[in-house]
Symmetry: C2
Subunit: 350 residues, 2 copies
Amino acid sequence: MHDLHEKGGRLRLRRQINMKKIINDPSCVVSEMLEGIAAVNPEVVYHPGFEVISRRRKSDKVGLVSGGGSGHEPSFAGYVGPGMLDAAVSGNVFASPSPERIVTAIKESDCGKGVLLLLMNYSGDVMNFEMARDIAECDGISVEIAVVKDDVSTEDDDYSAGRRGIAGTVLVHKVVGAKAEQGADLAAVAETARKAIANVRTMGMAMSSCILPAVGTPGFFLGENEIEIGMGIHGEPGIKRTEVMPARELAHTLLEKIFADRDYDGQEVAVMVNGLGATPLMELYILAREVNARLLEKDIRVHRYFVGEYMTSLEMSGASVSLMALDDELKALIDAPCDTMALKVGRSCL
Amino acid sequence: MHDLHEKGGRLRLRRQINMKKIINDPSCVVSEMLEGIAAVNPEVVYHPGFEVISRRRKSDKVGLVSGGGSGHEPSFAGYVGPGMLDAAVSGNVFASPSPERIVTAIKESDCGKGVLLLLMNYSGDVMNFEMARDIAECDGISVEIAVVKDDVSTEDDDYSAGRRGIAGTVLVHKVVGAKAEQGADLAAVAETARKAIANVRTMGMAMSSCILPAVGTPGFFLGENEIEIGMGIHGEPGIKRTEVMPARELAHTLLEKIFADRDYDGQEVAVMVNGLGATPLMELYILAREVNARLLEKDIRVHRYFVGEYMTSLEMSGASVSLMALDDELKALIDAPCDTMALKVGRSCL
């Protein structure tokens, strides 16, 4: 790649990097990012070519694999570690990983007790993860699949049959990772995954597009004073475009759409207020304040908040709100320790 | 404030919020953000009017207070908790907190063993923190001050006499917080602070401006293919404007400026790769990869990496790299557990 720069590739490079990204070559962003993750986190191993990040220290339990397109960092490689994932597999930016890559992640995660694949509901991902399951099963590994469909903004679209999976997926990773860590068998881990998926809903909004490194221009445009309610994390269409609104109104708009789909009144929940990449933390905390006020009004008790960037869309500006209803089992699992680069729960000790 | 919207303030609100921020009223962003932080983090308490966030559970040790202008989230309220700060005090966006506010933070943090004020070198902050120290000392509280000046990009400018303090400050918070947690007395805590400050250097770059909520327009403009090396976290001038460059060249540019100021060859260091707010994590990991490669070449051993958004400038796009040389004491302190909203170190347990 360095050769490319020197052998007359300079012009091409210039054109590509004037999108103002901290990258070398747009065609190498995924591998270089994963090399970076492995360089800074000694607890994980990078498998070049397969674009898999796995735990360095394996433990004797059901394996948990997630993945999908890149560009959603810290999802998913940032969640590899005790209490969450055993391996994360990456496709190119916003593109599904191949079955071959997924099989590598499965094999890295299997200790003989089987592997659960936790993925988001996009047609390409579902197809490739199912093919990988079939291949791994031929090799004698038990594999279950659980598909997260938390986005209440739409039903079918061009990208998924049924609802899309978005940030609520990270809450599912958290509880399912804890269940596997406790030594539950594959059937029990898969059952917890299905319960968590049934309990989680997310609604998002975007204020600006993002720029795919290999493309170099924004995927869509929003007007100077325009936002899109319900936009997907790859820029899929949402429900409506509207004017910028105060944080209070925005919180109500997102939550009402969730409440229209599932009743959370009087229940106990985990809440995620997620930034899409370019939204300042200041704004996420202000949004969290408004979400909290609205949940109080509805007598919805928040057991734990997660506020930050958990599932992003490169430098897209915007946010999402996720609710997961918690029964006693899920409450214990959401509180169980986890120790990953991007999410740590539990008191810190050495 | 809601009244304001209804009583004909609508037009004003519209004009203000078409900068696409998730806020209610630009004049309330700091208090609403801090309310949000206290709402989602049960371990801290918000002191309205004083814009102070302090620990809910106090411990019998030297108090540690930091603060400064808002807009640098998670700095500093995100670092209040065991192993780091006892209280953080906020001014308005990019504006120093008043002495009165700082005194409140000092009183919330003092358990009779005195308080260390850890601040960044901006003239307004230095003046106000020194005034607060004098007031608190009149009330019988022992107060020491340590000022971080890690930015190697400039010497004096309009904002500070001597070098500015930027992201390396968070590494200082980490080690000094651990020292205080171990029960060291005020003199020893201050001595560790001065050693940490002497050992830390930071160099940053910006790719775009940020928008102050009360202003509504960008503070400066960079060309479509232009970045500024050495820009400060409030948009203060840097060393030079240049074309976008590959991540590898950028890492070298930032590190060479640091190495020209302090020799780290053959030493052991903590490294922070910090995003300024709108830079995707993908790019921070790619930058970390290049930093890591360059440090290997120089035989600089990295004891621990911190990669993420630690000190931001609202939605500014850009990054900084910090190095802190570690002796045995600082190495133990950087590894000591800490448990704050924005930084957790140590294995998670319950």
